[in-house]
Symmetry: C2
Amino acid sequence: MSYSALTQHFQQQYHLQHIAAMCGWDQATMMPAGGNQARSEAMSTLAVLSHQQLQAPQLAQWFSAAQAESLTPEQQVSLAVMQRQWRDATMLPSDLVGAFSLAGSRCEHAWRSLRPANDWAGFLPLFEEVLNLSRQVAAARSEALGLSYYDSLLEQFEPGMRSATLDPLFNDVKQWLPGLITQVQAKQSAEQVQLPQGPFATSHQKALGLEVMKLLGFDFNHGRLDVSVHPFCGGVSEDVRLTTRYDENDVAQALMGVIHETGHARYEQSLPAQWRSLPVGQARSMGIHESQSLFFEMQLARHPAFIAKLAPLLSHHFGEQTAFSSDNLAKLYTRVQPGLIRVDADELTYPAHVMLRYEIERDLIEGKLQAKDLPERWDNLMQQYLGLSTKGNYKDGCMQDIHWTDGSFGYFPSYTLGALYAAQQAKAIQTELGTFDHLISTDLSSIFSWLQRNIWQHASLLETDALITQACGQPLNACAFKLHLEQRYLGA
Amino acid sequence: MSYSALTQHFQQQYHLQHIAAMCGWDQATMMPAGGNQARSEAMSTLAVLSHQQLQAPQLAQWFSAAQAESLTPEQQVSLAVMQRQWRDATMLPSDLVGAFSLAGSRCEHAWRSLRPANDWAGFLPLFEEVLNLSRQVAAARSEALGLSYYDSLLEQFEPGMRSATLDPLFNDVKQWLPGLITQVQAKQSAEQVQLPQGPFATSHQKALGLEVMKLLGFDFNHGRLDVSVHPFCGGVSEDVRLTTRYDENDVAQALMGVIHETGHARYEQSLPAQWRSLPVGQARSMGIHESQSLFFEMQLARHPAFIAKLAPLLSHHFGEQTAFSSDNLAKLYTRVQPGLIRVDADELTYPAHVMLRYEIERDLIEGKLQAKDLPERWDNLMQQYLGLSTKGNYKDGCMQDIHWTDGSFGYFPSYTLGALYAAQQAKAIQTELGTFDHLISTDLSSIFSWLQRNIWQHASLLETDALITQACGQPLNACAFKLHLEQRYLGA
Ligand SMILES: [Zn+2]
Ligand SMILES: [Zn+2]
């Protein structure tokens, strides 16, 4: 059976991804700085071997033989997803894979100290190398897939998504959003909001985070919470590794961060066990992944009914404060204020951060923007979209994100796609099961069950369009997102 | 250049060992229990791929071509050590390597909960599988090397060492030791010793451990300290991962454990950088490795001059106690008391624990003892060597050690070899540089420099015999060890 030979081969591939994910997690959370050179080299070798394993000569024959075998519909999908992963591997030469992994590790690690030092000059040559190799990857993928350079990278994170689909969608949001932000800021300028008074000890913030993860159904037998400079959700479904960072003056940052990553984690932990070690058992796309984290962080955690659950936990861990009243927290967590930092952005200004990055990374990859001109372009767009200057402020400007340091060009659109998908899911749930007001206060788990039935259990068994249309009754669109923001920020 | 092709190939092998070491460390320190099945499978796949990489078909030709190339003497040694590692790999079929890795991971992980539960019946089938696969490994190695089953495993940890050398050496120690123990216990029965009063908070014990690691020259830019059930020194030279465990009622256990592992760590961290990623740049043998940890733990840390340095640190971290006087600590840390647990054993009774294990594991591997008969045999030997019963007490008897759970048969002799080597080194240093009394109190670093010059920098460039003879003026023997114990425990 060629199909079963293939599944065995791809299980090994899954094992190597497991190993790489754990070593990547360790690099970001545990590794002493002096270990980085050796780690980068080791991970580059692993990437090359893993890539070679995926290019084993017998695969081509197995794939054609498997087509003729009698397979269930699900096995046919599984076969197609394996084939896509194989095709992705075979279009890149092994030495490019190794060089790309090494340059990304090096740049990312250097970024950890160069960013706080605001050292653009030190960062630029490392970044240029990553960009250069990313363009080589794009060139190879573009050639093989018949897509533009940028679309060929986007395809890695959002299979089937194209700039031609993103552009009208994003333009629609981009034109509508500034007006809404102005209206909301005008409305909020009359509101009184109290800031909780710190310091908030890291150990208490951690205890709070763990409690909220439990409330959200995180399975601690298959995962853990740690600290990293740039929070992420890593590891594998069987052992999900969340990270956050703590600011002793601000309790919301880590709290909302943990909730966001818990959304990613529940998706990973709930992928169907019987498909777990095969490509078809993986998360559908990064847009769907971000739809889960943003569903948790924005749709759920900023909802007044959920905030009513958070308020007593905050008082419990940090003592009574009037700022911890549900009313005040609800205002605070929906406060709109354009700022420099994407990960600290409110729900309304967040899309502006994404669109800025989308436009810039597309031009970088298409060769229309040079790495050295990045800070100026960044500053221009920040002025235009949010009225803020980042001149000379690289660390809060173009050096703020981890994504480009390891060559993850094409990822950023996933955040806004995720926000749109999350709003569509929230709308569908409320149509089907009742309002969040009611569900959150009486039966939070019914929401998770809906996600389990409609998103999590399908892994990559459905194409993104089919998954969303089946779950929400409509394909991808911005209506629910716009409606959600208008209702939450202006309405009722 | 075939030699340079070989070095590149073996550097990749080193990278895979790095990856495996880090995932192994994570499994013992960080991983939630539910992640173990997936981790074991992933590491088994990595072991198989790593093994296949080492068996690449071009290697045979490279090795024969490299013999004819003009190489420096050091490159010739490097070539020979690569060839030994290659020979070790090629004598085992890949499926045995995978099965052995998987069974070891499973058994070790189960042991973590079965041991505290004293569950021999639960442990036995897992252990039988590991033993069975270990005997298959021994059979394959024995066939290829022309050695007995047990010697073929010993060779993995102590290249060149044979039972025929161990037996007379160990018998000598075994006959001489009981008399000494009796004499020392008689002498110590008249002594007053105070036990420090706990509890000793884990956080303070950790702070103390870090301070002592610093005093001993551990490089925190290339390593860290964590917690595991069974302490070990893992990771790679560039990133050494020490572990310990804390007992809030006993400060000595973690303290002495950390000092022991720091000895391993300094050896690893000080291996010559220019050979680091090649087999010849690795530690010479496990006996030499244990000689460094036991040098730190026994020769240094139990020396009155070093205890005089520890005493104020203990008072600093846990408050003044009369039990923290140098005099009392010196008595306490050299107190002789036969006990059930090897890792808690004093310097004098430790060899009895090793010899018991050596005799048992040899019989297990040679097929002269069945796994099911292990507890009875263990009990008999404990009665005979230390006068203690372990009947029904598996957790403090034959289930106490991690080594056999992952199939590390042949390792135990390294501990006593290490103790003998350490005593030889201590004697050589004092002959060359002055007494430990003087060196420890005035110039601790001169001791480390001697180890650097005579042991650490040579990595595997010298055979064990040559290394020891060159460093100490004599080949392996028990004289220095016996003299050291007589002087410390009876003398002056
Ligand atoms: Zn996210
Ligand atoms: Zn040791």
